[in-house]
Structure formats: C-alpha cells, structure tokens
C-alpha cells in the first residue's frame, strides 16, 4: 500500500510528459495570474474544454500547475501595478505596491515567492495528512450532513464575498437554480425546461463558467483599457536566508490560517489572504515598516495564506466532492467530464488519484520556486501586453472552449448570454464566484435534501430529531445556525477592519 502510494506520488515527477505539463501549467499560471484581467478561474474553466479529450492525469497536471502558479502570479501585478492580478492578491497590494514605489519591487517579489512556496508546502502537507482522515469520517455522513455542509459553504461564500450579503445569497441561489435546469436526476422529470428538448439536458455548466469568468470579465475590462504599468528595477530578487528566516514564523502561522479557510467549503485564497493580513496586523508588534507603507509582514501573511489555501481547498473537494473555492468548483466540473466522481468513495475507489494530486501539487510548488525567482525580465514585458490585444483573444479562447465541450454551436450563444448577464451583475456589484459554487453545490444539495427527506418519510419533525441526535449532524447544524446568526455582523466586522487597514 505504502509502496503504491509513493509510486502514485512520484508519478508526475517521473513521467516526462506529466512533468512537462506541470511545468508548463505553473509557468502559464504565473502569467495568467499576473496579467490583470485574466483570472485562474477563467483559465481553468477554459482549459477544461480544451483538455477533455486528454488522459485525465495530463489534464489534471496542467490544471494543478495553472492553479498553483495563478494564485501566486496575482501578487506580481499587485506589487508592480497596484492592481491585484487575482482576487487572492488584494491584500498583497496593501504593502506590496508601497514597496515597489520605494524601488524595492525586486526584494518584494523575492520574499513573496519564497513565502508562497512555504505556504504551498504547508497546505499540501495538511492535505496529505488530513484528507484521508476526513474521508474516513465522510463515509459516515448521511445525506442530511451533505446538505448541511453545502449550506454552510454557500452561506460562508455569500456572506464573505462582496459588499452585500443579499447579493451573495442571491448569486448562490441563482447558481443553484442554474444547476437545477434539466432532467431531475431522481425522477427524470423536466425542471425549468419550458417544455423544450434543448433545456432537458440542462445548461452546460462549463459554458456557464466560461461565460461568467471569461466573457463577462473581458467586457468588464473594457472599462479600464488604458492603464499603464510603472517600470521597475527587478534585478535583485533572490532574498537572503536571514530575511526568509526572519519571516518564517509569521509565514507558518498564516499558512495554517490559509489551509483552514481554504478547507472550509466555498471559501478560498481571497478570504484567507484578507484574514491573514488582519492576523499579521494584530499580531506583529514591530513591523519592518508601518502596515500599508511597505511592511514585509504585510506581504508575507497574505501570500503564505493564499498559497496554503490551495492545499486546503483540495481537502473538501477530494474527500466530500465539495469545492473549497471557485477554482476547485471548476476542477470538480473537469472531474465529472472525465467520468470521475469526487467524494468519499474516491479515496477508496481511486486512491491513486489522490496521491497523484498530492505529488503533482508538490511538484508544481517546486516549479513555482524556480520560475518565480527567474525569468523576471520577460515577465515584465508580458504583463505590459495591451488590453486591446488581450481582450479579443480572451473572447476567441472562450468561444473555442464553449464550443469544444459539446461541439454544439448553440452553446456559444449561451456563452454570450451568460457573459452579458454576468457583466450587468458585475456592474451592479454582484460577484460571480458564488454563482459557480451554487451551480456545483445546488444539485448536490437537492439530491441530499430529498434523500434525507425520503429517509424520514417526509416528516420534518423526524428530520429535526435526527439533526440533534446524530453527533455529526448536530455539530454541522450548530455551525450553520452560528453562521446564520453571526453572519449579519461578521462581514461588517471584517470590512471595518480592512477599511481601517487601507487608510492607516
């Protein structure tokens, strides 16, 4: 058993094509993350449709690389341009950009790279240790527990992402409705189909993902077409050991915050990095410079956390089939297309997939260290790619991606529809991330809710009884109740802290 585990772990290290794809993915991910306007979620959702004819291992290797690289890459443009290339780099800009203004961009990038890799390794380590345990517990989960977990995820994401909880909840519920369109999996009855055959097969969710993350983002970016980056001196970037050692304790602490937040269903690197920044601000008494004016601590904390959150996000995905964040929601979509069903049985039926992913993540992290500290000159050029060239290309990639899934020309009109709809939602301050989580979690909740209901003979009283008598359900119910109660106050609390952080 241990032998085969190690074998699967090393699989992507020893197979030249997997090794190459992981390297390619990581490199591409760094660019994707760094170029404002390209997001990891966008890249991974387009990649699903390009790679679905591939062997699943190859496809996953590429996606893992893009994911790891992309989460890190966002820090580059946050430091150099004060524009977070990815949502998880928002907090990085608070102190990264002031450092760049002081001419310390090179050092800032160097430190960021090292702590990202440290965070990444801690995330993977926790994944490797915790996932098998979680998966054992998950086997005891009843349908009602899945319902509660999914509810917890949607509540978390609705309350923490964006400016208004009403908007977050709307988006999550809307996503669930999109996921519901088509034939009911339990009774084969049509839902939301308007008696058309076209809708009976459901709305192709990969197309919805590409529409929301690709096309709508491209349209939204048309507003900011003329931004020019500042030229930076980035000659010295490899940080000294003493600097790394100095920030190591903070990096490790915030990595654990990152893994934990990442492992909660629904919340990922974006929230983890904000929480970590907050933690650093409260716990570091004598920062190298005041926070907000170029404190290295303000870089170390969010960047350790968001890369650690990657490993965390894989935990619920591989053990429960629940996305840890928007990117893993998209990767779950990819696994479905490859005929795999992420969930507690996956560890038993296809254990190789788990160890393969762990090995692959480790490998991508090593590549991250190599690529992050080299090739920065070419990199600076790429980030300056004009939007006028970038946006039409995103559209082409989205169209090809949407078409490739089913070879159906109607899908590209769905794509545009979702793109335009997503654009208006974005303009009104809605977030599209919760929609995609809703699309993945909605059908899961539907089925688990009905199984739970059927198992108690449609009796609400009986269900309530089970919720309090089974220990797992009781814990989960308490968490959900706590979330509902505290939620109205929680996002305001965090927001209040961060508005203070920006002005301080």
């Amino acid at each position: 058993m241990a032998d085969s585990m190690f074998g699967y772990f090393m699989m992507s290290w020893l197979d030249p094509s997997l090794l190459g794809l992981t390297a390619l993915g990581t490199l591409a991910g760094i660019y994707v993350g760094a170029i404002p306007g390209l997001s990891v979620t966008m890249a991974v959702s387009i990649l699903i449709s390009f790679t679905f004819s591939w062997d699943v291992n190859n496809a996953l290797a590429l996606m893992v690389g893009v994911y790891i690289g992309g989460v890190y890459g966002g820090s580059r443009s946050a430091i150099l341009l004060n524009i977070p290339g990815a949502p998880s780099a928002i907090a990085t800009a608070f102190d990264g950009f002031p450092l760049a203004k002081q001419g310390l961009a090179g050092q800032a990038i160097g430190v960021t790279t090292v702590v990202s890799v440290i965070g990444g390794f801690i995330g993977i380590l926790v994944l490797a240790i915790a996932a098998p345990l979680v998966s054992d517990v998950a086997l005891m989960f009843a349908p009602r527990d899945y319902l509660l977990l999914a509810l917890m995820g949607l509540l978390l994401v609705a309350s923490l992402s964006g400016e208004s909880m009403a908007k977050g909840i709307f988006c999550a519920a809307f996503g669930a409705c999109i996921g519901m369109v088509g034939m009911d999996p339990m009774t084969a009855e049509g839902r939301f189909t308007f008696d058309t055959v076209m809708l009976l097969g459901g709305i192709p969710y990969v197309v919805a993902m590409i529409g929301f993350f690709g096309v709508s983002e491209a349209l939204y970016q048309l507003h900011h077409i003329g931004l020019k980056p500042i030229k930076q001196d980035v000659s010295k970037i490899i940080p000294s050991w003493s600097v790394v050692l100095k920030y190591l304790p903070l990096s490790i602490r915030t990595s654990f915050i990152g893994v934990f937040i990442g492992a909660l269903p629904g919340t990922g690197g974006d929230i983890a990095s904000l929480m970590a920044y907050d933690h650093a601000k409260r716990s570091v008494k004598n920062p190298s410079k005041p926070f907000g004016e170029g404190a290295y601590e303000g870089l170390v904390a969010p960047e350790s956390a968001n890369n650690a959150a990657v490993g965390g996000a894989y935990i619920p995905m591989l053990t429960l089939g629940m996305p840890g964040d928007a990117v893993t929601a998209v990767i779950i979509g990819a696994l479905y297309i490859h005929g795999l069903k992420p969930g507690p049985m996956m560890m038993i039926e296809t254990p190789h997939l788990f160890w393969f992913t762990v090995g692959n993540l480790t490998l991508a992290n090593i590549f991250l260290l190599i690529f992050g500290l080299t090739g920065i000159k070419i990199f600076a050029k790429m980030v300056e790619l004009p939007k006028g060239l970038l946006l039409p290309l995103i559209i082409i990639l989205s169209v090809v991606g949407a078409y490739a899934i089913n070879n159906n020309i109607a899908d590209i009109f769905w794509l545009l529809g979702f793109g335009v709809f997503g654009y208006f939602l974005k303009m009104a301050g809605f977030q599209v991330g919760p929609i995609i989580l809703g699309v993945i979690l909605g059908p899961l909740m539907d089925v688990s809710y009905r199984r739970a209901m059927i198992s108690v003979g449609d009796s609400t009283l009986e269900l309530m009884h089970e919720l309090v008598t089974s220990p797992i359900s009781l814990i989960l119910s308490l968490v959900v109740i706590w979330l509902i109660v505290s939620q109205t106050a929680l996002p305001r609390l965090i927001k209040a802290r961060f508005s203070k952080g920006k002005t301080a």
């Binding site: 519920a173 082409i396 490739a404 303009m427």
Partner: protein, 156 residues
Amino acid sequence: MKNVRKLHPGETVISWLLLAFSAFVLYQAIAISGFSGLSTPGAFPVASSAIMTGAMLWLVVQNLRIARRTPEQDKQPAWAVMHELLPLRIVLFTLLIVAYMLLLQPLGFLISTFMFLCSGFIYLRGSTPLRCVVIAAVAVVVIYGLFNYLFRVVLP
C-alpha cells in the same frame, strides 16, 4: 443601521429587473410540482428560487433606503448612468462578438476568427493597424495549431 455602501450606476434598475426575474423563476419552480410534498422534484427549486426572491427583495429595500439618503445633487441623470453602465465601446464590442458568432459557421473558423481579431485589435487600439493585422494572422495560426494538434479540439 450603519451602511456606507454606495449604489453602483444602474444598480436600482438592475436590482428591480433581477427581482422580477427571481419572481418569474419562483413561479416556474412552483409549477414543477406545486406544494404536494417535501421531497418532490420541485421542492428544492422552490426553496432556492424563494431565497433568490427574498434576497432581491431585501436588496431592493436596502437600495431604496440608500437612494433616499443620497442628496438630490449627487444623483446622476439617466443618460449618465446609461453611459457609465454601457459605454458605446462595450455595446459595439458585444455586437462585434455577435457578428463573429453568426459568421463562424458560414465563413469557417480561420477566416471569421482572423476578421474578428483584426477588427477587435484595431477597434480597441491594441497596436498600429498594420501590426494588428500581422498579430491577428499569427494568433489565428497559433490558436489553430494549438487546438488542432496539441489539444485535439474540434473547432467550429
């Protein structure tokens, strides 16, 4: 209640439209199996669309409250809202995308993509017109090569 959130341009209209949309979804959800049982195919859709509608109602009320507090002179006239929400550039670019999608099959992938990229690059001033055409040509060849040989994807 302390609320510092500002309204986005056009948010009022969009949230009313979304409220109407949610109500329509709710109506459709009820049509699936009515209220005949707790584990019917329609039960969960009714619940989630009811949540949609509820959240939108809540938002509309919040927005009304914010709008009432906003001083009259801070309110933008309708044309300004329209301009910010839908600048001409976005409308035209979207129409360009529609044209591309419609021409995709009659003209084939290579020609229509080349045309779309040329016009898109030039319109968004990605570079000088001549370089735009060259970049578009290179991009089409690269995309075609990548998808046909590396990704083995069927192109439209």
